[in-house]
Point group: C2
Chain length 783, copies 2
């Protein structure tokens, strides 16, 4: 587009917008450096300086520049604008703007808009007991944690979905632009519906440097960058320079045009979404040189441009000169608050960037209308007497949820490419997959409007869902179990966000992030070893117990009950692991609901310990383990009718932890009532066996606990062979019982050999015939 030279701003507006920017820059530098003397009422002395200088200046003035100009757009057009600040190191900018507009003081009354408040603002920043140096949940107006880079644009698109009047301005640092998730998030515009969804304005902020390197996008020819952005499907605008006055004029004119183009797109004109490239010096307006080295415009301004202010009088003087260069006496009144002309340039009420209710999504959250999941119950005349595909049935309920909330437009499904593969395709009876790229007659379920979004990027799916939830809506991410590790680190950040935001009164609870992990480790028929990994649960339970919930429903009815529970919950991450393949139905619906409410319990119909203590406990968590445990229990009943076997099923994994560790944890008394204090417990678990040990090592009976689970053995083979390879098959479990119940080994040598032979026979048969023996494939609970 080239540079614009028109003078859009009249003298007054130019003066005020520059004053606002200078004020924000002053407040930003103050946060990094000053413990005291915030208004420089006296000459700076070493004791005014923080002992540890921790923060990131480099990106900050550019962010302040963006905020100043967004405020202008908001005021002129009464626009509904929120921001996502990808260069999350720019915490000082977010705080400076929140303070200037008053939203900081509303959330934190001790940080008022006066000298005392300014001192508190400075002091809290990157200081023990204060706030981190990144944009964080503590900042009013943010839905995006800074620091780990890559997710800004996906968050912005997630926020824009179903918010037709919202404009999400998303600043993308040129460092972040190098990450994979960001590099593919540009494509998310191909899902956004021009009228039903809001708009995202990506602002690619090229300041040229990362911590210690130039950035790639700042060092390629202009025509290459232009081609890249056009290739991503955008219409690029450029604002490039460093002279403040000229930059304000160009920025204002360009933003005016961009907002007009966005309006045209939203009215249905066939235009591309705009993107703004803002090229400014790193550390803009900061010290040009320090100790003879160039700082402004280089990576040396990434963090603290003047590093030795407390010890080095020259640095101290340079800091004072730098701060005075913003002319604070023109910006702040006698009390230390922003002068009137500056306040007048701030939008009012909920239009302020720090007060936009979308950025505190809990304020807007509406309870989902949840149809009764019991209507989809599998009929269970006797345990295992029927069979169903759990996720297929769940898909029917999700269809009804989508239909019931269609008007509210506040529930969406996300997945890489697997909604149908995961057998949730009933949802396509009421909605489609949203898609704005080319459509062909042969396409199925694709639509311009739809409540499912599929893109082969787990990162984008996760990012869109996070953005959607953080702005007050509901959703579900369905994913192959093994590949959810792709977003391990994104999950980390979201869980950390939840932990922190739960402790902030002014942040209202949001809907939980719900994962449905299916096509799981035990049923990867089309795929091999590379698709087998049940370790996401292990990863998740490292995070704070207060935000993590893990469910392993053993059949269709329990899955329905768990899913309903999760969609009602707030501020958690819920992980549901459930198979998509045909599986026996164990529990009638009312029993399923009760079992899920308890989280773990004895299945008396499968147990033979009706009188007194059992000889052995067979425990299970997960659908495949439950089937094997029941088959083992039946075999034991047949072959050792005198043995008292108790079957325990765990659906809510966190029940295993002590109640002192997790809100769902059982007391020792409850735990002992299920697992006894001294009998052998064989636990068949869906994932890596040591997780069960980790959750239970403090329990009285832990020494008698023996866990079977996945131990990294697998390939493309039959379902039963997978169990055999990992020593979790029914026969192996029976052998374990014979080996572990005291006294049993002697009398059952023949039976044991029979089990060993049976395993070997199965193994050989499978390798010869390529499928499981019918006696396993068609096994059902016989009692």
């Amino acid at each position: 587009m080239g540079e614009r030279t028109g003078t859009v701003l009249d003298t007054g507006e130019l003066r005020d917008i520059d004053a606002y920017w200078r004020a924000a820059n002053y407040l930003s530098a103050g946060q990094i450096y000053l413990l005291d003397n915030p208004l420089l009422r006296e000459p700076l002395r070493a004791e005014h300086i923080k002992p540890r200088l921790l923060g990131h200046w480099g990106t900050t003035p550019g962010l302040n520049f963006v905020c100043a100009h967004l405020n202008r757009i908001i005021q002129r057009r009464d626009a509904n604008v929120m921001y996502v600040l990808g260069p999350g190191h720019g915490g000082p900018a977010a705080w400076a703007n929140a303070w200037l507009e008053g939203t900081c003081s509303e959330a934190y009354p001790h940080i008022d808009r006066d000298e005392r408040g300014m001192r508190a603002l400075f002091r809290q920043f990157s200081f023990p007991g204060g706030v981190p140096s990144h944009v964080s949940p503590e900042v009013p107006g943010s839905i995006h944690e800074g620091g780990e880079l890559g997710y800004a644009l996906a968050h912005a698109f997630g926020a824009a979905l179903d918010n037709p009047d919202l404009l999400v301005a998303c600043v993308i640092g040129d460092g972040e632009a190098e990450t994979g998730p960001l590099a593919t998030s540009w494509h998310a515009a191909k899902f956004l519906h021009p009228r039903r969804d809001g708009a995202v304005l990506p602002i690619l902020h090229l300041n040229g440097y990362k911590i210690a390197n130039p950035t790639l996008l700042a060092r390629i020819p202009h025509e290459e960058l232009d081609a890249l952005l056009r290739g991503y499907g955008y219409l690029p605008y450029y604002v490039e320079g460093h002279e403040p006055e000229a930059m304000h004029q160009v920025m204002a004119a360009t933003l005016d045009e961009i907002v007009d183009v966005i309006g045209a797109v939203k009215r249905g004109e066939r235009k591309r979404w705009p993107v703004l490239v803002l090229r400014t010096p790193k550390g803009w307006t900061g010290p040009a040189e320090v100790d003879g080295m160039a700082v402004e415009g280089t990576w040396r301004s990434h963090q603290v441009p003047l590093p030795a202010v407390r010890e080095n009088p020259e640095h101290l003087a340079a800091l004072q000169a730098w701060l005075r260069s913003y002319r604070p006496e023109e910006l702040f009144d006698a009390d230390g608050g922003p002068v009137e002309s500056l306040r007048a340039r701030v939008p009012s009420g909920p239009r302020r960037l720090g007060a936009n209710p979308h950025a505190n999504g809990g304020l807007l959250l509406r309870q989902l209308d949840l149809p009764d999941f019991r209507e989809h119950a599998a009929e269970v005349a006797k345990p295992g007497g029927s069979a169903s595909e759990p996720t297929r049935v769940l898909g029917r309920w999700l269809r009804d949820v989508l239909a019931a909330n269609d008007d509210a437009a506040n529930f969406r499904l996300f997945g890489p490419d697997e909604t149908a593969s995961n057998r949730l395709d009933a949802v396509y009876e009421v909605t489609g997959k949203q898609w704005q790229a080319q459509l062909l007659d042969s396409d199925e379920h694709l639509a311009r409007e739809g409540r499912v979004i599929e893109m082969l990027s787990e990162h984008v799916c996760q990012g869109l869902l996070e953005g959607y939830l953080l702005t007050g809506r509901h959703g579900l991410f369905s994913c192959y179990e093994a590949f959810i590790h792709i977003v391990d680190s994104m999950f980390n950040q979201h869980a950390k966000w939840l932990k922190t935001s739960r402790r902030l009164d002014w942040r209202r609870p949001i809907a939980s992030l719900n994962y449905l992990l299916t096509s799981h480790v035990w049923r990867q028929d089309h795929n091999g070893f590379s698709h087998q990994d049940p370790g996401f649960i292990d990863h998740a339970v490292n995070k704070k117990a207060e935000v993590i919930r893990v469910y392993l429903p053993p059949d269709t009815n329990t899955l329905l009950s768990v899913a309903d529970h999760c969609l009602r919950s707030r501020d958690y991450v819920n992980i549901i692991v459930a198979g998509k393949n045909q599986l026996p139905d164990w529990l009638p619906m009312e029993e399923a609901v009760l079992h899920c409410a308890r989280g773990a319990g004895i299945w008396e119909w499968a147990s033979t310990d009706t009188e007194g203590e059992p000889d052995v406990v067979l425990a299970c968590a997960g659908d495949a383990p439950t089937l094997e445990v029941l088959a083992a229990a039946a075999w034991l009943r047949d072959h050792l009718p005198g043995l008292k076997v108790r079957v325990v099923n765990v659906v809510d994994l966190m029940r295993l932890q002590p109640d002192t560790e997790h809100p769902h944890g059982m007391t020792d008394r409850e735990f002992d009532a299920l697992f006894t204090t001294d009998k052998p417990v064989l636990f068949a678990y869906h994932g890596y066996p040591w997780l069960i040990h980790r959750l239970t090592y403090r329990r009285a009976n832990h020494d008698n606990l023996h866990v079977r689970g996945y131990k990294e053995e697998g390939t493309t083979t039959t379902p039963f062979d997978m169990l055999v390879m990992n020593d979790m098959d029914r026969f192996r479990l029976c052998i374990d019982v014979l080996d572990r119940v005291p006294g049993l080994g002697v009398t059952t040598a023949r039976l044991r050999q029979q089990l060993v032979d049976t395993r070997a026979r199965h193994h050989a048969w499978i390798r010869e015939h390529g499928e499981d023996l019918p006696e396993v494939r068609d096994w059902s609970w016989p009692y």
Copy 2:
């Protein structure tokens, strides 16, 4: 570029190349379907068909087409070409081509090039006891596991580094192209040195569909796709169509031109690297329609186009017609091997795609020349008598390693942007950061040639390193600890690759993948909660013990020793966690070497249990925990001189596991000798405390083990405050001792209160002053 129409191939060459392609397609379909009757010598019957049809046809014919034409280039130019097949679902293609060229039979003699061998080839595919349906380590010629998508291009660039004569042809599926890692891997060309490195030819294979969706890149306008690829810095060529004869001609002509352009780039001409866009129907040459639904050219051909061959006679007949359409009688001789004219079109010896030694990197691996790390030893006159920055010293040794192996050009460092931040910057004395984008005079350490590669994408760093290692070289990835989770899933795939390839005799051992995780959880001064996560270790130890090693060197000398050990090792993933901040030196070099060799041991100089059993064991793993444990031991010696305290340090974390679980594991006898069988053990651990329980729950003294570690409490604060927040500070450890040593509590109530008060005093002081008290900051071992 538009389509080419010239006729490059003469009749004979066209006939043969088409025959090769038909043969590969026949063999591919055969693998998916046939248990027997591989040459269709009799009419197909149900019992010839596999009971479970598992595989992916859709991408396969396109891959075969690419292989056929790569063979032509290799033969005509004696080119050194290897492939990376991103659409890893195309396992049948990789196997078909390996069988046709004879490399399959060389690795697996029972799969000879005759009818019996063809039957074995078909049978093993996606069959119990056989090989997975994805391109996997079992396939000769591959360095890339299929299935989880996103890493093909980074692997290809990693393979090309320092291999100036190598051309890596990298097929990228249009599904994979949507992933984040792939979307940013295009930029890796900006690091490749035209002459010193090899070439990568990305082949973007647009077949239009994923499992259930069209792909984004196949549904954007041509000019948008063209702009995107030019924006990524490439010169795009297009081969689009479906009519075989025309496609062969265009492909041959285009590849000829592309290889010429690559040659020109490598000679130093200022041209862009080419990219080939190959647009062909999904499931090309497969059934056009099944049950009245279009299959060829749609997502319905993604897996098994004819799903019911065994039950449905029409499907069976369709399969027979499909297979016969390739005219197998023209392709295979009486014995069932490829006919002579077909064999003549296959490159010979190591030029065959399945035999390129770069794809079995262990064949080319040369031991690194490792300078003596002892020369960088920190002098330790007494424990803690000096201090150093561990990673800074390591950087000096790495500098020497780089210098010593400069001629061999087989060692590289990779990192997102943090080599200097992680204080390894001594390496820049002998090398630079490789970079082909714009250079400015003000840049430091950037160079056209250099052995460090930094890009703000952990995915690309990891992918480049994997590709570099798999082709027989050495490397190290240094990364902020928390953000290494970004590559959790890539690590999974590499660890799985290693597990499988170790079991294949013909795959030779490769250098280990070495992680240096620094800027770790306890010292995130500039950053907050979002940068704190020590859980990568937990993630890693879920993988097979035989490939995972975890080291927590407590000081500089142990870090040097560990690093030397890791660079010598093979076929592992080594995780080293070490701080970059100033730290006391504990062990003189020879003691450090011995300690690292033992992996864990009693530090007698810090212990007071010289006679008999201790009263309490203070154990530690990690640099911050070690410092706290020593400070606690000193406090106890001062205040409770009669208490017998044993200090145990663990540097090799896997020593804690039983020897039955991990090759490095201690026997129970060894473990008990360190940790006793009945005394309280307080263990201060770098990461999440439960990992220590998980590793030790089978030990005799486990019930007495109490672990302190990171428990998700943190923000931007001082180092000591981080310890206090997570209850791992020295005072807390002393309180634990008082509380846990039997009988001590009664007599020490006053001391305990003193400790409680001291903690409170520190906490308050830090919040007031913003830094740690000097008595903690400057503490050193006093004895």
